[in-house]
């Protein structure tokens, strides 16, 4: 079964061959982990521990009363050695708990299977998911239990599992689909049960024929679940694009997927959900693709949350001299890191080291109005005009040009021959617009 195409998009070099054939291996737990209290969208968690506390693996160490929030857990057993601000992938310092590992990985007693799925109510399942600290693992890090609790007036009929993995370089989702198809389908079924959805769709880009094959085999006999092959085009995995090509429904401007009866989750989230139900495991580890020409031994690794990038990289043989950019995530939407003393968080799908050859430092020129940015924008914006407005602080004009609809996919800046940082300007305008709207609401 093929899918429709969305308008716009780009075809960057995918470079997935660096890691696509490497099976996921476990990185041994590091001597020290740093666990930020905010690894998700929403209210930050508050620390439940203090220096000197002895912790067990999987023990809850931070939580919040806010609904849109997620607790964090100890990813090693050991001693709390610091509680305080620490470097965060977002660039600023965030409260974090540093744990010195005792090397024993002693599980906390509360980590045990939750019992039979059939006997659980949606409320109970949502509670388990919340307690396990699950967030969207594709990078958006929106708390999973919130996504699974839409208001009653927005019935959900379809759950989509995002296996597009359209970001160049990253192969974590690809490997998970090859290695844990059963867990993905189990996780999807739990989501469908919680939401009362009758249809499950797994969307995979056509450049992963082996994953398509494995997943199709795995859903054989499942009448409600289908696997859809998607065109290989960035940003195929963006929420609105994925929903459009698999269901032909367009999420309204300013709206959410639930407005069209859809919820979507990343494959990593589905697996983590399966582990919560089957084993009671909170989210303490994730698969990270460590890749890029700057990495000596690229790999797909199962890594403890809170592992420092420096430890991760030395496990992969270290960095080459030519490394110029270190990125948390993929090259199109990831965050540039200022150094290696930054922890892996729940949303870290990859650590990418780009070299001198990949990092384009060409001078910015004036816009030649080639319209390439307009033709690649998947949400039909005119990036050149929005960026111009933002540059001149014309926030109202940027708003009129629908800057708030930008999904920050980076296509416009990628394609611009004049090397104008369009996405950056539009992001700024968007932030200003959203701020203003908030203030007006007050």
């Amino acid at each position: 079964m093929g899918s429709a195409a969305f308008r716009g998009g780009v075809h960057p070099h995918y470079r997935k061959e660096l890691t696509a054939s490497l099976a996921i291996t476990s990185m041994p737990p590091p001597a020290k982990v740093v666990i930020p209290l905010q690894q998700h969208i929403g209210a930050p968690a508050e620390s439940l521990v203090k220096i000197g506390d002895q912790l067990l693996l999987g023990q809850k160490i931070g939580d919040s009363k806010g609904f849109v929030s997620a607790p964090v857990h100890a990813s090693v057993s050991g001693t709390v050695v610091a509680v305080g601000p620490y470097n965060h992938p977002l660039g600023r310092k965030v409260e974090a708990i540093t744990i010195q590992s005792d090397g024993l990985d002693t599980w906390h007693g509360e980590v045990k299977p939750a019992g039979s799925l059939d006997l659980m109510t949606p409320e109970q399942i949502r509670g388990l998911i919340r307690e396990a600290g699950l967030v969207g693992m594709g990078g958006a890090t929106f708390p999973t239990h919130v996504k699974l609790a839409p208001p009653a007036e927005k019935p959900i009929d379809t759950v989509i599992i995002n296996g597009a993995e359209c970001e160049p370089y990253l192969t974590a989702d690809h490997r998970m689909m090859l290695e844990k198809p059963g867990d993905i389908i189990f996780g999807l079924k739990v989501m469908m049960k919680v939401l009362g959805a009758s249809r499950g769709i797994i969307g995979i880009e056509s450049n992963k024929p082996d994953a398509l094959r494995v997943m199709k085999q795995a859903v054989e006999g499942e009448a409600e679940i289908s696997v859809v092959s998607l065109h290989t085009k960035y940003p195929q995995g963006a929420e609105k694009m994925l929903i459009y090509v698999t269901t032909k429904r367009k999420v309204p401007s300013g709206g959410l997927p639930m407005d069209v009866g859809v919820v979507n989750h990343n494959v990593g989230t589905a697996i983590a959900l399966a582990e919560v139900i089957k084993e009671g495991k909170p989210l303490i580890q994730r698969v990270v693709t460590v890749t890029g020409e700057g990495v000596i031994r690229p790999a797909n690794l199962m890594v403890r949350i809170g592992t420092l990038v420096s430890d991760l990289l030395s496990f992969c043989g270290g960095l080459r001299e030519t490394t110029r950019k270190l990125i948390n995530g993929g090259p199109m939407m990831g965050l540039a890191l200022a150094g290696e003393d930054i922890p892996v968080i729940k949303g870290t799908s990859g650590i990418l080291a780009l070299t001198d050859d990949d990092v384009d430092l060409a001078r910015q020129r004036t816009c030649i109005k080639c319209a390439k940015c307009v033709s690649v924008c998947p949400v039909n914006l005119a990036p050149t005009f929005i960026a111009q407005a933002a540059e001149h602080s014309l926030i109202q004009r940027a708003d009129k040009l629908h800057a708030a609809d930008c999904i920050e996919c980076g296509c416009c800046a990628f394609i611009c021959p004049a090397r104008i940082p369009l996405t950056q300007w539009i992001r700024l305008a968007k932030a200003d617009i959203l701020d203003r709207r908030k203030q007006q609401q007050k």
Binding site: H13, K250, S253, T323, G339, I368, V379, A382, A418, R419
Partner: protein, 321 residues
Amino acid sequence: MNDKLVISSSPHIRTVESVQSVMIDVLVALFPVALISVLLFGYQALVIMLIAIASAMLAEAAWLRKLDFFGDGSAAVTGLLLAMTLPASAPWWLVMIGSVSAIIIGKQVFGGVGHNIFNPALVGRAILVISWGGHMAGNVWPVPKPFAFTADISAVTTATPLAGTEQALNTTLSQLFIGNVAGSLGETSALALLVGAFWLLYKGHIDWRIPGGFIGTVFIMGAALGEGFYYNQLLTGLFHVLAGGVLLGALFMATDMVTSPVTNRGKLIFGAGCGLMTMLIRLFGVFPEGVTYAILLMNALTPVIDNFTLPKKFGEVKRSA
């Protein structure tokens, strides 16, 4: 922290295309028609093109006080495009003046590439037509002599096909298509122009909507309103498309990125507007040819067109069902 690391906002990878590579692609696209013009008009054509390109690049380098003559390549493109609008008989000083005015008046006074409102090459040409009309008028165009490699500049009697109906009747459409007719360097061979334009379409540097709207409108108006050069109205429409500067204008001048709209609907409107103005000038104006002024006029309207044709954002229409 590591100070070798570059910290900048996503995306972290870029296309290999640059302004310069786009401009080089445009130069490559003009190569077929440049070649044909040398075959038809001899070395004089080559000399004109070289003078035009060199003086454009020099004028830009001097204005910007930079030694990098090629720069982003846009000056070379302007020079070559201007040369394409000149007759093979144009004297060297005329070429130079045209090129320098194209760069300085057409582009730099507006603030340089990207800021200009009008197509610089056409500004240069318009200035030459106004000031030295005698050298630019239709009755001095050299007769092309295929493969002679030197044009006989004295044999300049043939008017371009558009100047009058009698000659027009004698010019067959196939001659127009291949290029064996009198005209400016770039106006002669439809085939060479199309080959170049297809390359640009393939590279994604131009969009079909501008030439489509332009040529389509000229064809329809020519067929509907043209005075029967031929017994067949459709052929009359085709004649209007192939004769004169329509193809050069539609494929290479109107598609100039800086001075045409960025939106898809805007491009179509812009192209159709160029076609409409061209035909109004041809059919009802005092000049036999109107492509230059038609495009310049539409250039001025570009910002307005862009503003009124901003694309509908994704999901503006709720549920496409």
